[in-house]
Amino acid sequence: MNTVRASPLFSSGRWIPAAALEVDGNPDQAVAGVGEPGSRVLAGPRLLAGMEPLRDHLERLGPLPELGNAAGIREYVEESGLQGRGGSGFPVAAKMRAVAARGPRPLVVVNGSESEPASRKDRTLMALRPHLVLDGAAVAAAAVNADQIIVQLHRGAGDAMAGLVRAQEERRRARLPELQVEISCGPPRYVAGESSAIIHFLEDGDARPLTDRRAARAGVHGRPTLVHNAETMSHLALIARRGPWWFRLAGTIGAPGSSLVTLAGAIPPGQRVFEVGGAVKLGRLLSERAGLSAPPRAVLLGGYAGAWVDGAAAWELTLARDQLSTEGISFGCGLLGILPWEACGLAETARLLAYLAGESARQCGPCAFGLPRLAEGMTALAFGRVGRREVRQLLRRSAIVAGRGACHHPDGAVLLLHHALAVFEDDVERHIRRGPCDRAAHLPTFRVPTAAPEAGWR
């Protein structure tokens, strides 16, 4: 612990309530794009300047401090309150402790898969701030005494690959004391970014998920494996430099630190990834950054298997992981998908469900057989003629599918369906009475990859 450079706030021993320092009080700092004032992991050169070279990275942030022993680093991370920036927001320190306790020769995996088709935050970091990501991976490795780091990407993420390769080359030339870092590329499938799927892929070259139980026990070739995404790693790199209390100056007490979000759907061209530093209202972000002057029809939150929220309600939502979860919404990967008034939520949901059904690894019966039926039911509701009986049957089927897979893929699809039927209740009624609305013919708002199933699982 001694060798970790303590932040001034920390060493003074004063406890400063994070709420008193929430960045939201400063309107310039609450939402920031790449290289804009108030950004943290996105700080540095502006978007168009491209990747930040090692020299600039070190000039801006200084070298990583001496990290000290593993237990000390884990305490430090615990004090920061950092939660994983992937799906579930699990405390990072707890995951580190579990990995460190499991056995010898642990391994650190930087999850750069970013399987959510519209999310770009991890790729943005790997493409533009790869040194921050690699620094963070080194901190994670030191926290569990790992001697190897693997960065897992989806094939086709050329920008991320280019950033990381160039960063590694720069680090080699600068003779930075460094662990072995390997880059691994897997199939670009939706569930292949799930951590048990990554472990499976690194072990057998098969990117289908395992059950949580098996993954937790196994790890890659039996080695305890710590998996965190690129954003989580980037926060670690800053926590190591500036201390846990600096980290807590952003965010909320229940969800400390800044978080990245990606705008998708009906948005103007230009920057899509933003860093949220305080408890900002979604409406403010959408008016400042997506050019909206009034609430959209609805917002898709958290990912393609996420939650639909009615536009007016979404406008008033506070963008913080803990606040959203009290509303029963998962922040997920930070996707903020905007559905315009011209589009039909049922039609969009039908396309998303068809995509999710096609992305089933087809390992578990209820998911393999059930999701296509749910997608068909939704498609019939959106584009065909159905009665109340068919809608009731769709709901009954969805309840049967949920919770019966090895991974949570079917659960996410069912959640999306339930949110759609609730938020677009009036549309459901109209479709039942009069058939598909004109808006169902609107061009798709959310794009789904089409060629994925042929890519296989290897």
Partner: protein
């Protein structure tokens, strides 16, 4: 207390379990088992559950035993 549990990765939906223990296992419309969550201690039910576990050709079914008292209370 005993509870049947299905390993969804192993289960191929052969349906033998539902023939042996129809009171604890229902098949969904695709033939995959749905286990009822009511935990019975009746010996005949338990016996049928054990037979269903033993009969599964994919070894996808198991019986999870849970102590009915919390640790330290016994």
């Amino acid at each position: 207390m005993a509870q049947l549990a299905v390993d969804p990765l192993r289960c191929k939906g052969r349906g033998i379990c539902a023939l042996i223990a129809p009171r604890q296992i229902d098949l969904d419309e695709w033939g995959f088992p749905m286990v009822s969550s009511d935990e019975s201690e009746d010996p005949a039910t338990l016996r049928r559950a054990r037979r269903a576990v033993a009969a599964c050709p994919e070894r996808a079914l198991r019986l999870v035993l849970r102590s009915s008292t919390r640790p330290g209370e016994a």
